[in-house]
C-alpha cells in the first residue's frame, strides 16, 4: 500500500467521521484498513471468498462483523451492473391467486440472495408503463409481468433496456417474451365439454373483464368456441363481464337470470365470481347443482369447503411463481435462456355440476 493511498483513506474516513457523526457506517475501506488489506480483498471475501486465503478471509470477516459492516447495494449495483433485485408488475394483490404466485416468486428469489420489487398496475396499461419504467430505472435484473397484453411502450422499454422479462399466467405461440403459464382457453373448453356432456344446452358465463386482459379473454373464448363447436346458442346475452368481487358475481347471475330462457349452467371467469353466483343462487332459493350448475376458475382454498364444493380449474399459481423465479435466476447465473412453459391446469370435478333439471 502506498503512502498516498493510506493518506487518502485516512482523510476520507476522518471527513466522514466529522460530517456524519450521528451515523457511522463503515465502508469497504474501513474494513480494509481495520483488517490490514486492500479494498479489493474485502470485496473478494464478500463476493468470491474462495479466491482469498483462509487467513485473510477470516480476518476480513472478523472485521465485518465487529464493525457491523453492511455493503451498500447502490454502490454494488453501480459498480457491478447487477442489483440482485427482480421486479414484479401484477394487476392486483387482492386476488389470492396472484398473491400466492408473488409469494412463491419472492420466496425463491430471497433464497438466492435476490430481493423483489413489486408494483400493482390495477389492470391499467397506461399506468403499467410508468411502473415498468420505474423498475428498470431501479435497476432490476429481471422483470415478471402478468399476461401478454401490454402497451407498446412496455415492450419498447423491455427491448431497449435489454432487461430479461417473463410473462406469467398466459400461453401463446411465439410470445414476444418467454411465457410461464397455462392454457386458459383449453381449460374453459374442457369445462363446457363437461357441461354439455351432462346435457346442458343453455350455458352462460360470468366472465372477468376481458378488455386488456388476455387471460380473461382466452377463458371467454374457450367457452364461446366450444359452445359453437357443439352447435349451441352462444349469444351475447348469455355472457356478462364483471370485475372481481362477490357482489359482481351476484350481479352477474341476476343479469343472466333476467332474460327468458336463462342458462342452466354458468361458467365463471374465476372463483370469486363463482362464489358470488352461488351466494346469489342461495338467496334466490335456487339449488346448486339441482337448479343450476356452476363452475369456477382458480381453485381458491376455500372452494373445497363450500357446500356444495365448487367445481373449478386448479391454477398452479405457486408453481408458476417458483418456476419463474428459478428460470430468471438460472438465466442471470449463467445465461441459460428462459424457456416458455405450459403448466397443466386440471379440471377439478366437485359438486356444483349435475344434469339440468
Amino acid at each position: 500500500m502506498t503512502a498516498a493511498g493510506r493518506t487518502g483513506i485516512s482523510a476520507r474516513r476522518a471527513r466522514r467521521r466529522r460530517h456524519n457523526h450521528p451515523v457511522f457506517k463503515p465502508t469497504v475501506e474501513d474494513i480494509a484498513v481495520a483488517a490490514g488489506v486492500s479494498t479489493a480483498t474485502v470485496s473478494r471475501v464478500l463476493n468470491k471468498p474462495d479466491s482469498v486465503s483462509q487467513f485473510l478471509r477470516d480476518k476480513v470477516r472478523a472485521e465485518v462483523t465487529r464493525l457491523g459492516y453492511l455493503p451498500s447495494g447502490a454502490a454494488r449495483a453501480l459498480a457491478s451492473n447487477r442489483s440482485h433485485t427482480a421486479g414484479a408488475v401484477i394487476p392486483t394483490l387482492n386476488n389470492a391467486i396472484f398473491a400466492t404466485a408473488v409469494a412463491a416468486f419472492e420466496a425463491a428469489l430471497t433464497n438466492n440472495g435476490y430481493t423483489m420489487l413489486v408494483t400493482v398496475s390495477s389492470y391499467d396499461h397506461i399506468h403499467e408503463i410508468a411502473h415498468v419504467r420505474r423498475l428498470i430505472e431501479r435497476g432490476v435484473d429481471a422483470l415478471m409481468l402478468v399476461g401478454l397484453d401490454h402497451h407498446d411502450d412496455v415492450w419498447r422499454l423491455i427491448e431497449s433496456s435489454k432487461c430479461p422479462a417473463v410473462a406469467i399466467w398466459g400461453h401463446q405461440d411465439n410470445p414476444p417474451i418467454p411465457c410461464l403459464g397455462f392454457d386458459n382457453a383449453a381449460a374453459t373448453c374442457g369445462v363446457v365439454d363437461h357441461l354439455v356432456g351432462l346435457g346442458h344446452r343453455r350455458v352462460g358465463m360470468v366472465a372477468g373483464v376481458t378488455e386488456g386482459n388476455d387471460r380473461a379473454r382466452a377463458r371467454r373464448q374457450g367457452v364461446e368456441e366450444t359452445l359453437r363447436r357443439h352447435g349451441l346458442v352462444c349469444t351475447s346475452r348469455r355472457f356478462v363481464e364483471k370485475p372481481y368481487s362477490h357482489q359482481d358475481g351476484r350481479d352477474g347471475l341476476s343479469e343472466l337470470l333476467a332474460h327468458g330462457e336463462p342458462p342452466t349452467a354458468i361458467v365463471c371467469g374465476n372463483d370469486v365470481l363463482a362464489m358470488g353466483v352461488m351466494f346469489e343462487a342461495r338467496d334466490r332459493g335456487l339449488s346448486i347443482p339441482g337448479d343450476l350448475s356452476v363452475v369456477g376458475f382458480d381453485n381458491l382454498p376455500i372452494t373445497e369447503h363450500l357446500s356444495p364444493a365448487l367445481t373449478t380449474i386448479d391454477v398452479p399459481s405457486a408453481a408458476i411463481g417458483t418456476a419463474t423465479a428459478e428460470a430468471i435466476l438460472h438465466h442471470l447465473a449463467d445465461g441459460t435462456p428462459i424457456a416458455s412453459r405450459v403448466f397443466p391446469a386440471p379440471f377439478l370435478l366437485r359438486q356444483t355440476t349435475a344434469a339440468p333439471a
Copy 2:
C-alpha cells in the same frame, strides 16, 4: 466547458459505444452533450426543474425523450443517499388482510415516486433478521414491519442504520418504533362482553399461533382477561391455537368439542379459522348460531356473504397501509416525525351469535 472536459466526455462515450455495443444506454453525460449543457444542469432539470431556465429545461427534456434516457437508480442512490424505495417485511402474503395492507402501502408509495421492496418472513424471527438486513443493504429509505415482536438483531439493525421503521397492526404504549395499528386485545374483549351479555358461560377460542406473534397473543389475552373479569372458567382446554387455514379452523372446533362441557360460543383468532369452524359445524349438523355462536376477526370480504353472515371485527387494513406510507413519505420529505396511531377496529354484529340454547 473546457477542452479537457469535452475530450474526457467524448473518450468515455466512445469507449462505451465500442464496448457495450449491444445496448446503448444514454447517461446524463450523453444528455448533457446532446443538449449542450453540463451534467449538473441535466441533473437539475431532472430533480429540481424550477432552478433551471425554461430554455435549457425544454432543451434537456427534449433530449431526454429523444434518446430514451432512463436515470440509473443505483447511481442516483449512491450519490444522493436516497433510494426512493421503501421495504415491507410481512409474515405472509397468503393472508388477504396483509395483502390488502401491502397493496395500499404500495399504491401510496408509487403515487409519490417510491417503489416497494417486499420480503415475506413466514413468521420466522430468525429469517426476518436476514430480510431486514438485506433491505437495509438495498438502501431502502424506510421500513414497514408487522407487529413489535422481533429479534434483538432486528432492532439493532434498525438502530444502527438509522433507517426509519414503523410497525403496523399492533398497538403498545411507548413502542420502540412508531406503531400504526389497532387494539387487538380490546377488540376480543368486546367480543367476549357481547357473548357473555347474550348469556354464554362456556366460551372457547380457536386462536392463531401466539408464539412470536404479539397480535395473536393480544387477541387471546383479550379473551382470557375478559372471561376472568366476568368470573367465568378460562381453562387451557377451552383454548386451541392453530395456523392459518380452513382445515385448521375445522380441527380447532373438533378439539374443542372433544371435551365434556364444550363451549357454546367460540371466538376465533381470524376469519379463516372462523370459517373453518363454521364449515366443520355445518358438516357435524350443528347449527349456527342456534347450537353454537362463532365470531371471527378481520372482516374478509367473503364473510358478509356467508349464511349466516359472520360476526367479526373489522380490521382497517387498507387504511393502515395507506397511513403508514403517508407517514413515511412525510417523514422523508421534511423530517416530520412519524406518530403512532391507533385505528378503530369496530365490532361487526352479523348473524353468527345468539343466546345459547
